[in-house]
Amino acid sequence: MTTAPPTPAPAREETRHGPGRIGRFLRWDAAVGALLVAAFLTGTGTTEGFSDTANLSAALNDTAEVALLALPMTLLVVAGQVDLSVASMLGLSSALAGSLWDAGWSFELIVPLCLVVGLLGGLLNGWLVTRVGLPSLAVTIGTLTLYRGLASVVLGNKAVADFPETYAQWAGNSETVPGTFVPYPIALFCVLAVVAAVVLHSTGFGRALFAVGAQEDAAWFAGIRVKRIKLILFAVSGFMASFAGIVYTLRYGSARADNGLGLELTVVAAVLLGGVDFDGGKGTLGGAVAGVLLIGVLNNLLTLNDISHEIQVIVTGVLLIVSVLTPRVIAVLTARRQRQPAAP
């Protein structure tokens, strides 16, 4: 159905829900994908060195943590939740790894321990949201401060370096998956993104996520275990955040308590930019991935063109506002047009 002939008497229900119908033709996640391609082509045409494989490797790897964190964040936002403590958990994981490495632990022991800490941190978020019944925004603003504080307690102002070379090379962009320019963290992200996409869009769990995000009470009345789902999501988010902390530490070769400070906002920005509705119940994983990559490409282009970091932050902010506003503006305009059906 591409053309709707104007009917003399507008059908009641359809008039009221008109914006949804328009929304089907104009999918924001697809638009972001197109924008990503356009940005890539513009960069290739205008900026020298942009399309070099070395630059692309570096640009991709620079988004590694944001990309990894964006996966569970997408599921959370679709379910109507948010986890703002991820960057702090990244910092805590980094600080813990540094502190233990400094104390002479073996790295093979440090990694699982950090992951367990991340899992527990995520479970704490989930427990506060589901059992105590607090809104996730409030809970994770609290744990944002808590986990960052713990990171400082663990490592203080120190910076720990000299991590094992093999792991550092794995996380850096000097070594890539053989035959490609894809660094290993990004290759892992690709695999996880496929898993997340399948979970979100093709499993019963994913179906339930959308229902919880759109109308939690209706989901509960349909026999969906709302609390269990939320708990799982927060646990996964904490786990992934601690893993991202390891990647960050190895990539920069430095464990610090303030690693990844403020990164949670970039993650949320990328997810929203990808068309995932902050009110829950709407969004695609592909859109979120496109959002991550778009921010990555733009930041890389701006850096190559010697544009300061401050301006990059402004560009990201403007993009985010535009992405959140545009679908709503379209909806309002459509609704307004449909309120005057007789207009010739």
């Binding site: 229900e13 949804g20 759109a214 009345f221 119940g281």
Partner: protein, 512 residues
């Protein structure tokens, strides 16, 4: 204001409706209604749920504007553009649940937005306090103007609302089921306050499902049924039974195609189910092939019982068994797997995910069945939806359309489809035909009847008395959180059900 009640001849009406009609979409909520409220007189408004009482009140309060007819204030036509206009005209409405600011004092609540000022716009707290004290004295109640509203009983909150009305010099006091949540002594106190106001010359319009209160407080009663005026008459000489008949009497026609029931074994067993402060000690059985109605007034605790049985609310005590198997409390998932289904009353909030498509909504209860190696089969999801859409003659564009596109009746069919697709052995339906057109209503009744004939156990909550009488094999009646009567089909009629529902003893039904 005169302190003595006007005696003798009826004074001219303070506020009146003349030939008022109001529709919502295709539903005609009020048809050609006239009503006169006089100074110093208490007037009752009677009618079943959905008869149009709330719409009438909201028309008087300036919330709705009538599309035909006029509102007369002191005999002059008046147009209220909103509740503020009505309030300025001296009309005050006290709702069942008062809406005070919990953290403000009683005095601040009463004078919110119009506090007396001192220099530099500072609020004159002493004046506010004194004025509130004077209001309380006039009402003959002892409430400290300085205490915060938090923690006040509902009865006291209503008195604060009345004091607020008084501070606006309200001449008409409209009360919408003010006693629903009050105890006997609180009701008596409220009534004495209302009497004080009435003898000072206020006109009172009173709504209550408790017929006794109507007879205690009022002199005149207007009865509505299906949005139409049935009678407007003095209460003197009228009996409660006559009033009930005016409220409910109507033909039971083709709308209720009930088939003969052949009850089988017990499918649902509820024993001593209790939720503190909501319902208490509720026990009943529903057998295969049987439709059992749960009747009672709004607020009697019927939906709450259904939700506790299904596990969306957790009961404090008691047991639920489905086909002999005890259910884990507080788990709708467990209830669903045991063969229980609940079609909730509020389909827009609880029954459906409005933004999601028809097929997703119908599939939501079958995510386990629709899975192959962990993935949801889209074809299976669509087949499930189209199969049930056909069986319930759902009218839709595409199965991928959001359910919000559908009319109320078709939305209700989607909720039914979503639950029937789980092949339940016990179906609980809460107000299955509220807000849907007569044609679809008859279809839903036919469906329930044929499902029961095929052996499904049906528990139907309904405030629609003809529906209860037309469909049920047995009627359970709740009153104030307790199951007070069980009436077999042969003995169930309007009077016996209403008598039990309004808490009047001596009905033909026997206590369960």
């Amino acid at each position: 204001m005169s302190k003595t009640a006007p005696a003798g001849a009826d004074p001219a009406p303070v506020l009146a409706l003349k030939g008022v009609s109001k529709s919502f979409g295709s539903v005609r909520a009020l048809r050609d209604i006239s009503l006169e409220l006089r100074a110093g007189e208490s007037h009752a408004l009677a009618g079943e749920n959905g008869a149009g009482k709330s719409t009438l009140i909201k028309t008087l309060a300036g919330v709705h504007r009538p599309e035909a007819g006029t509102v007369l204030l002191d005999g002059e036509p008046a147009v209220f553009h909103g509740p503020a206009d009505a309030r300025d005209a001296g009309i005050a409405v006290i709702y069942q649940e008062p809406t005070l600011f919990a953290d403000l004092s009683i005095a601040e609540n009463i004078f919110m937005g119009r506090q007396p000022r001192r220099t530099l716009g500072r609020i004159d707290h002493a004046a506010v306090h004194a004025a509130t004290g004077a209001l309380m004295e006039r009402l003959g109640v002892d409430l400290d103007p300085g205490r915060t509203a938090r923690g006040l009983s509902i009865a006291d909150q209503q008195i604060v609302e009345i004091a607020k009305a008084l501070s606006f010099d309200a001449r008409v006091l409209i009360m919408d089921e003010p006693t629903a949540a009050l105890t006997g002594s609180e009701t008596a106190r409220l009534f004495s306050v209302v009497e004080t106001l009435r003898t000072e010359g206020a006109a009172v319009l009173f709504i209550s499902h408790r017929l006794g209160e109507i007879f205690d407080l009022c002199r005149h009663v207007t009865t509505l049924r299906d949005g139409q005026l049935v009678a407007s008459e003095p209460l003197e000489g009228l009996t409660e039974d006559e009033l009930v008949r005016r409220m409910v009497g109507r033909d039971l026609g083709e709308l209720y195609p009930k088939q003969e029931a052949r009850p089988g074994g017990t499918a649902l067993t509820v024993r001593r189910l209790t939720r503190e402060g909501v319902f208490r000690d509720v026990s009943f059985d529903v057998r295969e092939g049987e439709i059992v109605a749960l009747a009672g007034l709004v607020g009697a605790g019927r939906s709450e019982v259904a939700q506790a049985v299904f596990g969306v609310d957790r009961a404090d005590a008691g047991e639920v068994r489905v086909n002999g198997q005890a259910l884990r409390a507080g788990s709708p998932t467990a209830a669903m797997r045991a063969g229980l289904a609940l079609v909730p009353e509020d389909r827009r909030q609880l029954g459906l995910v409005m933004d999601a498509s028809i097929e997703r909504n119908i599939g939501l209860t079958g995510l386990r069945q629709l899975r192959t190696r962990g993935l949801v089969r889209r074809a299976g999801e669509r087949a499930r939806a189209s199969d049930w859409a056909l069986r319930l003659s759902l009218k839709y564009g595409r199965l991928s359309d959001p359910v919000g596109f559908l009319s109320g009746g078709n939305q209700q069919k989607v909720v039914l489809a979503k639950w029937l697709a789980t092949e339940p052995s016990v179906l609980i339906v809460d107000e299955p035909t509220r807000g849907i057109d007569v044609g679809t209503k008859a279809e839903v009744h036919r469906l329930l009847s044929s499902l029961a004939a095929d052996g499904l156990a049906v528990l139907m909550i309904s405030s629609d008395l003809p529906e209860v009488l037309g469909m049920a094999d047995r009627v359970l009646v709740m009153h104030e959180g307790r199951l007070v009567a069980e009436i077999p089909r042969a003995q169930a009629d309007e009077e016996s059900v209403m008598a039990a529902a309004t808490g009047r003893a001596g009905s033909r039904g026997e206590a369960a």
